[in-house]
């Protein structure tokens, strides 16, 4: 907004172009010029996770934009993590580093009554009742428990999403925020293959590498089940 001298006329004109399509699910949306719709749909697959000490568990968040006509910029970050635990986020092969956010752009798309024949990298098809098949961006959440995690203990992990839209000319930009909460249960056994101790200088690095490999294996398994 502008603060003007009395009598001065102000004008604020927003110009935007909507580039909207998910080739996997349907044709491009028409450009909407009269009303901006900022939308984000999310699917939290599970609310609970189980992980054994020293191992890694993975789950998926799906993000879609079937009611908006503006691309949605999402910043994902870890809001809550138990001390000594490692949480990493991954989308389309890009991982967040510790303490950083993971950025992705969720393009508008159309739901479809039939499943797409192919899906772009980093996306998955999900059925959203009653809307239909939706092309969603998949974010994998890797939860790495320390080897010292107490079996039977319950922890909380929270992932936050800050959503932003670039609105040219708007005085007050819209933001959106939501959280994804997970209850994490530490199961009984230590992770197989995780060494109890190593040579000096490797005690830290080796378990992390093994855990990373386990996470990658988890990611591979996850991809195999993707429709």
């Amino acid at each position: 907004m502008r603060l003007l001298h009395r009598g001065r006329v102000g004008c604020c004109q927003a110009v935007f172009t909507v580039l909207v399509f998910c080739s996997a699910v349907g044709p491009a949306l028409p450009v909407a010029a009269d009303e901006m719709r900022y939308s984000l749909g999310t699917v939290q697959i599970v609310p609970e996770l189980s992980v054994s000490p020293g191992s890694c568990s993975v789950t998926t968040l799906l993000l879609y934009n079937i009611d908006g006509n503006v691309p949605t910029q999402v910043e994902l970050s870890v809001l809550e993590v138990p001390a000594g635990w490692e949480i990493r986020l991954e989308h389309d092969g890009v991982y967040s580093s510790r303490g950083s956010t993971l950025s992705l752009r969720v393009a508008p798309s159309l739901p479809s009554s039939t499943p797409p024949e192919s899906v772009e990298s980093g996306r998955e098809t999900v059925w959203i009742e009653p809307r239909g098949y939706v092309c969603a961006d998949a974010v994998h959440v890797y939860v790495q428990a320390p080897a010292t995690a107490a079996p039977g203990a319950e922890y909380a992990v929270a992932i936050g999403a800050e959503v932003e839209w670039n609105v040219t000319g708007a005085a007050v930009s819209p933001l959106q925020a939501r959280e994804f909460l997970y209850g994490v249960h530490v199961s009984g056994a230590n992770a197989a293959g995780t060494p109890a101790a190593g040579a000096p200088g490797t005690r830290v690095h080796v378990p992390l590498l093994l855990a990373g490999a386990a996470c990658l294996l988890g990611a591979a398994c996850l991809r195999e089940r993707v429709v």
């Binding site: 907004m1 502008r2 603060l3 003007l4 001298h5 009395r6 001065r8 006329v9 102000g10 004008c11 604020c12 004109q13 927003a14 110009v15 935007f16 010029a33 009269d34 009303e35 901006m36 719709r37 900022y38 939308s39 984000l40 749909g41 999310t42 699917v43 939290q44 697959i45 599970v46 609310p47 799906l62 879609y64 079937i66 009611d67 908006g68 999900v126 059925w127 959203i128 009742e129 009653p130 809307r131 609105v167 000319g169 708007a170 005085a171 007050v172 930009s173 819209p174 933001l175 959106q176 925020a177 939501r178 959280e179 994804f180 909460l181 089940r225 429709v227």
Partner: protein, 442 residues
Amino acid sequence: MVPSHRAMLTRVCGGLGCALIFAALIGPLPGVRMPAVASDGTVTVFLRVEAPVDRDTFSQTGDYVCVWAGEVTVPREVTITARSGRQYRLFVEDGRYKSTRLDTLEVEDLGPADDALGATSVLAALDAASDLGGFSYQVTDMYYPGQGFFVTSIDGVAATGAVGWSYRVWNEELAASPQVSVERFLLGYDSGGVALPHNQVLFYWGYSSRCLPLRVTPRESSVQCGLPASLMVEAFVDAAGGGAWSPVQGASVCVGNECRVSDADGLVELGFAAAGTFRVDARAGFDGDSYYVPADGLSAVTVVAPCAVVSFRVEYPGNTGIDFGSVIPGASCVPALGQTVDRGAVRVVVEEETTVNCVLELKAAGALAGDDAEMPFSGITWGLCADPTGAVPMTSTYAEIGPSDAGEETSYDVWHWLSVPAGQPLGVYDGAISYHVRVEET
């Protein structure tokens, strides 16, 4: 003497839970497909009794009602009272299946049998079920002399003319219609012409072979979270050599109050929005040729991954976002551009696919800033109606806009007004409002 087992009428079949949709492992209900013979030799079977809703209109409607369904441990021997009043003891002794008429002690040898299994006939199962379910039944020993017992009535519904009670024995492949009387078919035996395991016995009223039992079979053993469960509706059609399951079009498949109609391939898709195990029923009325015995919820969909779907949209009328245009310092309650009496500056919408109850909130994200000056965000007020008198200042902590219920589209219009202190420096001020979707604790 007419045996009376009536103590109560219990309808346990088709008891479908209420729910809607998402990830699932699918399978039959516990107990439905269990082996008919346990390791200790005990024969158990799932038994159902399907009667007409209205006997007078059944020929037109084909509507069935389930009298009782449940798991039955088939007794090794049973004493039956026929409608004539004569009593018979059915038992196995020395490897022979025998029937003793108690008033004359006349013994009839019904063939070889297993002492360990006993006389586990369909009639014995019906007798046990009638005790469990509190329904009555009648058999006659005189319908076809020498041909065994014939069921003439169940739960007070008597056979009339060509319309009466029939039974089928199900295994994994067939819903066979044995051509022997009810005491002659021994459950758990591999010699009755119906391969083991004998999972289910179905008694149904109607026109015998024109009444086809329905079944619902999930097509996938598991479904990805969010994908619908696809189920096949089939009817068993008798034929020489046994018969086969054939897809049924137009059957109504229901989970609770949510129903779908099967297509030409007998397929339906159902979705779920909550965790749990949900029974799936299928039924179809008379189609001019066949009658269909309902499936009675014997299949189930177990939702194992409760997906939390949240879909939230923010709309602005026009294309300016929230903008107050040019405002003169000292102005009060200047409405946002684009908002009208009928339409707020912002419309926030929770979409119908949202599966959890939410609370919508908003807050100011920082201050209004511009040209080396700041203006407190509290200068912007908001309200849920077009009247600014009830508006409240924006705060830096979330304020509740309102709740939204799972499964329903919920929208709120939010009106905004700006008041500017008289001494506020001139300039272009920008800021941001954050809309928050908070999932309510369950």
